[in-house]
Symmetry: C2
Amino acid sequence: MGTTLRASLPKPEVLLHVAIVCAGLNSSREVVTLVKSMLFYRKNPLHLHLVTDAVARSILETLFLTWMVPALAPQISWVPNKHYSGLYGLMKLVLPGVLPPGLAQVIVLDTDVTFAADIAELWALFASFSDKQVIGLVENQSDWYLGNLWKNHRPWPALGRGFNTGVILLWLDRLRHAGWERMWQLTARRELLTQPATSLADQDIFNAVIKEHPGLVQPLPCVWNVQLSDHTLAERCYLEAADLKVVHWNSPKKLRVKNKHAEFFRNLYLTFLGYDGNLLRRELFGCPSQPPRGAEQLQQSLAQLDEEDPCFEFRQQQLTVLRAHLTFLPYKPPPPRPHDVTLVAQLSMDRLQMLEALCRHWPGPMSLALYLTDAEAQQFLHFVEASPVLSARQDVAYHVVYRDGSLYPVNQLRNVALAQALTPYVFLSDIDFLPAHSLYGYLRASIEQLGLGGLRKAALVVPAFESLHYRFSFPRSKAELLALLDAGALYTFRYHEWPQGHLPTDYARWREAQAPYRVQWAADYEPYVVVPRDCPRYDPRFVGFGWNKAAHIVELDVQEYELLVLPEAFAVHLPHTPSLDISRFALKEEFHQDLSRRYGAAALKYLPALQQPRSPA
Amino acid sequence: MGTTLRASLPKPEVLLHVAIVCAGLNSSREVVTLVKSMLFYRKNPLHLHLVTDAVARSILETLFLTWMVPALAPQISWVPNKHYSGLYGLMKLVLPGVLPPGLAQVIVLDTDVTFAADIAELWALFASFSDKQVIGLVENQSDWYLGNLWKNHRPWPALGRGFNTGVILLWLDRLRHAGWERMWQLTARRELLTQPATSLADQDIFNAVIKEHPGLVQPLPCVWNVQLSDHTLAERCYLEAADLKVVHWNSPKKLRVKNKHAEFFRNLYLTFLGYDGNLLRRELFGCPSQPPRGAEQLQQSLAQLDEEDPCFEFRQQQLTVLRAHLTFLPYKPPPPRPHDVTLVAQLSMDRLQMLEALCRHWPGPMSLALYLTDAEAQQFLHFVEASPVLSARQDVAYHVVYRDGSLYPVNQLRNVALAQALTPYVFLSDIDFLPAHSLYGYLRASIEQLGLGGLRKAALVVPAFESLHYRFSFPRSKAELLALLDAGALYTFRYHEWPQGHLPTDYARWREAQAPYRVQWAADYEPYVVVPRDCPRYDPRFVGFGWNKAAHIVELDVQEYELLVLPEAFAVHLPHTPSLDISRFALKEEFHQDLSRRYGAAALKYLPALQQPRSPA
């Protein structure tokens, strides 16, 4: 029974160490599913040793920092690229030297395994090692190492079917003591005299060493590494066991592998692929754990909130740390260009269909924050893969921020996208706007001509228009736009509902303008602007919709950004059904109080009571 | 280790019996989360004995029939309402008499428990019973039965803290043998001489019997029923255990219960609340199980599909059995009225915001199919609860159909909603249409006047219009509608993109019409119609969007329904951003072939090749 079993397991306070080699963008997605499955079943604190490259490191650092899982300490072991570049496949062999010298035992995992049981049961198998054994491995579940798969198939030497290295128990201090590094290097060098290279990377070398020193290995029960490779023999294992512990997706076909029980395994994988990672923020019992960085203060702030406060939901949302997976999809940063501009926007699932049109209108780099559930992130992945337009673009960075709470954290999302923009300038847009086809080129030219790179601190205003029809032919020039405006087919943005939002842009002047012109801030002004990347961040207090951009423009004005309207720039808003989220203005007042505190008298003019009523132009 | 543990558990082929008493609509939602948690961890085939009332029965029958979980045999034990009405609280006491006489042992569960471990471990505890023991129970984790909670608190008699009956191991044949029925009835009658009634229903009686016959009970480890009641003492249990097995939400506050570890428990519950139930369709290993009803044939059909067929995705979607939870929310069927009409429509998450407007425009009954993930179903529940307009309506039946596959099964959804309409007539509408405010009353009057109840087989056409603006003032009469039409503020539906869809409605004639007029079918005609409830179903082959309604109108015409346009009826389509799903017409041809096979020469005229080109009116 449970208690009997528990007795043979490490006590709940024992820290288990796990090492995972994770390089590149796809692996950094894959490892998340592995970690979720591990966290779901674990009852002990875990210490992850992630051996990463620069790309995976920056993604995973942010992910774990924002995930805030209690009793999880991912230590990202940073291995300089130049040294081991291209050698990630051999990384497992050098772990005894790379991991902290005081670390005695570690479980080593491939990123393509999924847990179906508590990892503590695996850790407990260290107790079954004899004094001489240093490596625990599951037998390879294919005939590869028997060398009979095809004519002239010459695998590396192995004991019988050999062992699979997707799951390893490494007794590190014994390995160090036994001179492991010399041992595997000698074997590898000797074999490489007759073998052109390894076929299966570190696994070949592990097997060759074990063939020579069979006493080193402790064979593990097959359920701890059920290998779903092509032509797998795994069925022999799990049909008897009924009690599957770890599934290893080691076919290049991954989830599409053909197998009588493929659906069973796929469902297990999909369970964790779509699992809400926020649910793994749960505490462990019986294990006094250090709260993750920042968590304690946050807990206190949350505990101090008054549930009766009408703004309770807002304040809760503001305090929520949102788990973020940066550059979720393949991405190539743009080459450094002094006047380049990144389009910055945020969206949720119901705006995905805007992406293709946006890509057609904006040929430059984009940084987009997507507010999604874990399951939606997978749908998004498939959506991009299925779209030739989207998958052709390498300069669009998609940052997934996982949903948590009931309100849309619009400004937190904007800040995530803004922080990831790598060009010197950013166009702070919204997902429902399609820019003029010429806008990207025109903005770069304008930035250069206006000498914005130097001392001039300016925000370039892109005048905003609105189509109330969901099908219309997009204007190819300012002249065409004006014609549509005169024909009543287009309007200036929110002309009927919220004219003050764009009043200072002075559309009448823009019609005639041949050169950029300066405008003055006025209450509720919220133009779409191009600014240097180091511009002020958005105020993350604004969640839900309403006044979130206006507050940002106030910040720009108070910091003395010139507001310059560009005569040839425009963007058009497309209609959509009203969002489920509702506008709320409750926090506007608090924003003003803060502004006064930070900027003193300079902020006074923004107070609604002190503003002159303006007549419409 | 795993194998050691497994040895003490029932073999994977052993069938475990579970009884759950489930009455009413809310319980039938609650029980689904319990069942998901049980199925997630189980490795044995299960037989569920669901003791239900009529409401829960019809919901759960459909749910399990469409869920198609292998190695799960829910046998819904139907207990006539008149007999046990109001006695569901005592149902657990009569289980030895109600369950099949051959059944020796059963696990009895409350609907508000959640599993965190394999139920086979619980079943294995039967082996710990002595010869005399017949009931396994966990101690009550509150001081209730100590009788010291408040002054004059007089609980029923119990041994010490007494036992909680949320989780029971019942040794049925021993109970029957021991004369259980007489035993508990005697005790209950005697106690009821001094107690006004039971406070905690069956639990009081179980405890009183046990107090008298302590030898009957085998106390179970506390982890098998961790009770999160108010002022629970459960912490003593799970803090030592670290190995939680079953959580019992027995506070009236349910998930909102205050508890130091509330978040841990809540996350466990939310895991299964949002868990994709389709993933539980996975096979069991080591247990040759009967496939669920219909599953074998389905498997064969699916296996015969050709992945290279360009329609592969379509055919796969058509063969998918969609899990359906009928009347997901509180619902009161409309009283029988001879001319009543139910509005029938289907939607997904991105159209939820239409529901309030629809409720304002249509005061009559509605039957709506919602295509949602398990997680979205919970969001939908909260959406309705938060809306005063929606929660005030008891005559709107919401049927949740769970997402599965990549295409939108529009006609399968329509058929679910149609099948659940209880009035003699149905208005087959779409979610983006708002009916004229007068339409509900006008339709009932028209049905009566036209004598549709009798022999006349007719489909009443509701002319369709379209607003291209997302804000407009809805016409309060036909006159206002015509004025908007003339002003170019409204159009006839899809006038620009697909005029043939509504051409036969003859809008020019409708303008002037004072009485219903008959129109003839023509190619691609797809009006919105009111028909008797027993009308033909939609062709479920049409998945995704495109030609799905047109095919249904063909069916009506071939079955010789008169098409009568109503002079005062109208509905207006509101714009929305294009859906992510794309129109596909691939299956139109196949539909025609089938039609010919079924209706012979009468179907010839629908073939596109034989149709006369028509000029627009």
